[in-house]
């Protein structure tokens, strides 16, 4: 069902945990399945993501995309981090089954939520970042019709 890369990130999640006094923390829930992801960002004065951690209550794909997403944003600047879409995460994982595409959105949204929190805390505005919904339920692949 899952690619080897997904299984690898699921079995050995990178950057799992918390950051105390993080610069930004974002938690999002998935209306579709009820799963939840929390992302912690440590952003330095130059706007570089020095550290990132996640916690996830979710399926295998959710864990793997969390893990991969943290790897993709670590060391990047904020604008670069905003480019880490769910598509990018899925590609880096060699794809996900159609029914699991929505899980990858959790990761994207959790990063956005954490960046939003960072922006609010620091009273800045991040170009191109919209206020994250606390529940995400859009952009999934069309499911099969019901018969």
């Amino acid at each position: 069902m899952y690619s080897e890369k997904v299984m690898d990130h699921f079995q050995h999640p990178r950057n799992m945990g918390e950051i105390e006094d993080a610069s930004g923390v974002g938690t999002v829930g998935n209306a579709k399945c009820g799963d939840i992801m929390r992302m912690y960002l440590d952003i330095d004065d130059d706007g570089i993501i020095q550290d990132v951690k996640f916690k996830t209550f979710g399926c295998g794909a959710a864990v793997a995309t969390s893990s991969m997403a943290t790897e993709l944003v670590k060391g990047k600047n904020i604008q670069e981090a905003l480019q880490v879409t769910n598509k990018a995460v899925m590609e880096a994982l060699d794809g996900l089954p159609p029914v699991k595409v929505h899980c990858s959105l959790l990761a994207e949204e959790a990063i956005h939520a954490a960046l939003w929190d960072y922006a609010e805390k620091h009273g800045i505005k991040i170009e191109g970042l919209k206020k994250p919904k606390s529940d995400i339920h859009e952009g999934e692949e069309d499911e099969e019709e019901e018969y």
């Binding site: 299984m7 799992m16 399945c33 009820g34 799963d35 996830t56 209550f57 864990v63 929505h102």
Partner: protein, 387 residues
Amino acid sequence: MKKVIYLDNAATTRTAPEVVDAMLPYFTEYYGNASTIYELGGSSKKAMNEARETIAGILGAQENEIYFTAGGSESDNWALKATAEAYRAKGNHIITSKIEHHAVLHTCEYLEKNGFEVTYVDVDENGKIKLGELEKAIRPTTILISVMFANNEIGTIQPIREIGEIAHKHGILFHTDAVQAFGQLPINVDEYHIDMLSASGHKLNGPKGIGFLYIRKGVKIRSFIHGGAQERKRRAGTENIPGIVGFGVAAKRAAETMQERTAKEIALRDHLIDRVLKEVPYTRLNGDRTDRLPNNANFSFQFIEGESMLIMLDMEGICGSSGSACTSGSLDPSHVLLAIGLPHEIAHGSLRLTLSEETTLEDIDFVVDTIKGIVGRLRDMSPLYED
């Protein structure tokens, strides 16, 4: 290869080697069509009748009340749709429970779209149907009550005799989905006032793709699959002789070993339940503590999610399930767990382990130890868990 501990026997079972052996000659040697006149077809017919006799015997039914189908889902669809059709003149109301298998629930939804009214009776926190509510739901137009014998997810056994008596008293037909119960629990269709009963071969170490519907003589159900004159003109299609033979042998075997086997399973199941509840905090057992299938354990582990747990168990060679197999691919939490009152996020962290005659005490202890580790790891990962 790593040792596999298969604890998903409610999803499907290993076909017993003696069942396969019994089937084999009917593939390549006695392969004749049972509806023909020549001797080769006679062997098929004889074998089929033997299986029918065995199964009828186990249920206290007549041979000619057993109709072979392709499995539990077909039996459920047949029982509901074709009864609805046949008794439509009498009424359009059906009563069932909130925790039926989808083969019953989705069929009921289909019937609702076609002019029938369905009452889905509640269950209590242990998954037992509320008998008072059931009886109150009866209307003059009620033609059928369909309640499963035992639940496939949480294992709760329903008070079938009482439901049968209520149906009987009101002159309403009673169907029970016994897919999980047949071969695991003693069933007598007369004692329990059962008019129709669904079963499926692959749940009792028989082959997949074969099932039956018991239809009490006199019940005027219609055909569901129309065509040839097989199964006394009620179910068309060339008879699946190897499947029928295999089902017969599996049924016989299950009946003969029932007492000893289930006693052993109950002991192991209880050991599993006791250890998990004692050693894993924030854990609950779903389903009735005593009125439950001998081989079923179903837990909810707070703060963690089912799929992750299943993958981690699989990596240790343990096959379990979360919700029911046929709904995987669906993201909704189990309708059964919601019906017994669990909130979404707890329903999400449920694990069903269903034992077989092959399960050992060592297996169970290994499984409990593994679960402890996995639950710990996943809780560490969970944003919901603060310790």
